[in-house]
């Protein structure tokens, strides 16, 4: 065999990394920018006033909410999509909706999940059509499908799921609290350092302990459903 050492080797470009960036980009057309998930209401009552309080709020929801619910279910969804285990997929998807604390948070997930499923079908992922049009589909369920089909490694994908949520929350805080753009970048930088440890915790959570409850968020989100003046849909 002849060596072709004179030709420089192609740099190791990972297509799956670029797919992850595509999937977690704020320009993914699922309308995430329209949702603050209780943050608007928390600002309205004066709970969030500055960088420090915004950090506590987002950190709290990321560690006690997403890392105990969406992320552990994401790991299970990813494996269920790999095995194409339809019963398991349905059960996990239903569990997510049973856990949404308010009707606006349920509607948000169904809107974003529906938008992502239509996009994925258009991009050729026919599996996204597994559900009937009338059924609610979670964003996390569809995110897991895209990750599997685009060969994004499971931990990388879980990192992306948390990161894109964080990025969206910070964007909402910049508009609502409000925070400066530089403070927003500071906030992302501080909070993303928590993500590796949260993924370890999420992976170890036994089935029976999956789930969360954030009473203040739930009440504020319920109040947001009738908030008089609002920019966001949640």
């Amino acid at each position: 065999m002849t060596e072709v050492s004179s030709v420089p080797a192609a740099p190791e470009v990972s297509v799956s990394l670029m797919r992850l960036m595509q999937l977690t980009s704020p320009s993914l057309p699922v309308g995430a920018f329209a949702y603050s998930q209780g943050l608007e209401s928390a600002v309205e009552i004066g709970l969030l006033t500055d960088l420090a309080s915004s950090r506590l709020w987002i950190k709290n929801i990321m560690s006690q909410g997403l890392a105990r619910l969406d992320v552990p279910i994401f790991y299970r969804l990813y494996r269920a999509w790999q095995a194409l285990d339809e019963a398991e997929l349905r059960s996990l998807n239903a569990q997510i909706f049973a856990q949404r604390e308010t009707s606006e948070l349920q509607a948000e997930d169904a809107h974003m999940g529906g938008a992502l499923s239509r996009l994925l079908i258009d991009l050729g992922m026919t599996e996204a059509a597994l559900w009937q049009r009338s059924e609610q589909l979670s964003f996390t369920t569809m995110f897991a499908l895209a990750a599997v089909k685009w060969d994004i490694e499971i931990n990388q994908a879980a990192t992306g799921l948390l990161w894109s949520w964080l990025e969206n929350q910070v964007a909402a805080a910049i508009k609502l609290v409000p925070l400066g753009q530089t403070d927003g970048q500071r906030l992302i930088g501080q909070l993303l350092e928590d993500i590796p440890a949260l993924l370890v915790m999420a992976q170890q959570l036994p089935d029976d302990e999956i789930g969360s409850c954030l009473p203040m968020l739930a009440i504020l989100s319920a109040q947001h459903e009738t908030q008089y003046s609002r920019l966001f849909r949640s």
Binding site: Q64, A98, E101, S103, D208, C213, M216
Partner: protein
Amino acid sequence: MSAVPLETIEPSSGWKAKLELGYVARETRTVLAHRSRRGPLAVQRAFYPEGAVCHSYILHPPGGVVGGDELLINVSVDKDAQALLTTPGATKFYRSLGDKAHQVQRFTIAENACLEWLPQETIFFPGANAGLSTQIQLHALSRYIGWEVHCLGRPTNNERFESGQVLFSTDITRDDKPLYKERLFINGLGDLDALAGLNGYPVTATLIALPATDEVLQLVRQHCQNFTEQHKADGFAGATLLNDVLVVRYLGNSTELAHRLFRNIWLSIRPFVNGLDAVSPRIWST
């Protein structure tokens, strides 16, 4: 009724108490047709302050729960039956020396049956180690109104829940599909003060009612709004409708205010949920 004498239970391993209640619809009223108990959990003689609905008081004579104790309450309400359960006093979970205490309540509600679960509050002393689980299995046509009022620490004595841990679990299924679920895990001051969680308040309470309509939601929202305006410094209340499941939450300083809010809501929504006018259990006025 089969009862195991109390002295046969080994105290060192903690109380293992179990109470099973089965309500059945007879021609004119619901009867407590089946009951069995083991250990210190009991039910008082059923009574009928409003005709057909069977009212029962569940008693836990020791009053307090310590590490290693297990309380299991299984209630089944058969087709067309209507039962209302309450407890005469608060349940207290005391400081644990290490072992975990468990309370599990399982409600099975059949077609056209209705269960109302309106207990007094649960108080967790600092240092308690407890798991509390409510599991409700519904038929597509069952009705349920229930609340839980939990107090972490003893705010009236300025004792916060600084040590100890509690896991609250709620799982409601309808036709074996998950309908509503939550897990609240409290472990130390970080969780007590979490901005989006308890936000520094010791009392967290939830009322669930189904099936509910938008009309019921509007009614309850008004209660919550009035309550918030009246008791601004004492906490927050909010209501939402998850398909046909009404969820009302209170977060604040006072179990008494939580009960007052929930009783008022119960009085006004009961006719919409199970078609009956509300008759306050006598025990509430004592």
